[in-house]
Subunit: 189 residues, 2 copies
Amino acid sequence: MTRETTSAKPPGRPRAGIDAVVFAATLKTVHKLGYAGATMDRIAAAAGVAKTTIYRRWPSKGALITDCLVDTFGPLPPMPGSRAEYLAAAIDLAATKISEPGVGAAFAGVFVDAVSDAGLREILSTRLQAPYLRALQDALGEPEDRILLFVDITVGTLLHRMGMTGAPMVEADVAALTEMILRHFAERA
Amino acid sequence: MTRETTSAKPPGRPRAGIDAVVFAATLKTVHKLGYAGATMDRIAAAAGVAKTTIYRRWPSKGALITDCLVDTFGPLPPMPGSRAEYLAAAIDLAATKISEPGVGAAFAGVFVDAVSDAGLREILSTRLQAPYLRALQDALGEPEDRILLFVDITVGTLLHRMGMTGAPMVEADVAALTEMILRHFAERA
DNA sequence: ACAATTTCGCTACCAGTGGTAGCGATACCG
DNA sequence: CGGTATCGCTACCACTGGTAGCGAAATTGT
């Protein structure tokens, strides 16, 4: 009954469960000091963990931030209802999460690091974007390019506001954005 | 006839006109190596100019990139015509310029540096965003928050696509984006 | 022609930053 | 208790943005 492929417990000291602590420390540090100010040393110190320990789990700062975002956003919850309700809920989810302390700055930071780093872009695309893309495609039954445009508009707008003003978008503007997007994506392509 | 305030020529070696060369070198380097890879040393080398000379004119890398973008975008040309035509032309201008080699990556890079740097955010906001904001406000007669939302949607979407894929948005998607924005901003608030 | 002044290019340098190597200590399994 | 893998720690490396100080060049006024 020893299932080696998945649950064979290897010998040696087991890894401590530090993911949650590190993720929380990451967001807190980014929130306080900004993306550039959130040094790996500082994140490690805030988590009460050695920097080398962090590098044993995540190969780079970008990978850590990406995993932190994946953990924060979580899976797209099942949202029954009309197409419009589904889209509105997705936009609202994005806006809410990006508004949480540190999330917007972390997202924007890793996003732009990715512009210059193909490896990181791969990580970001695979781990963070792809799951949502598939979920949206399954739920809406639209061609991929339309889903991509929807994501670009939603996330891009929210991040741009965050970057320019340093503060998340106010509710009224999110409502206006939602209305505009709904009018365009209400019916299928 | 000596107008001291503006044109009194000071003694000493005059400054060489290197702005154009440096701007071109900046965009070329960013295009080839990405924002993070575009070192000040490399930009200086590409321009055939000493790094210290660059730092005598621009106080920081962010300021250089910002001025480079200001130079690239230039003033918003007068665009007579209907409201819709004006908006469409503005979107098209943004999409065209951001598609130019290096411009999108430079924009995204300085944009995210600004998230963590209040001083740079001030420079970016004052030198790059404010002029366009005023021009759009004058031309459209809309309240500021609606103009800001328009800019967030337009620039944010284009930059997000650039960041995620590494390539500028294709024409068909720009057209879809334009149509969606026009439907929302066609009539005054 | 000559001093004054300012900029130029250059080398050297500094404080951080992401990331790595190697150490003894520690926690777990058999 | 022996084997193994992880932990925290210190030290270290390559590189980056940015600065200081130097002699050389270019311009002005006398």
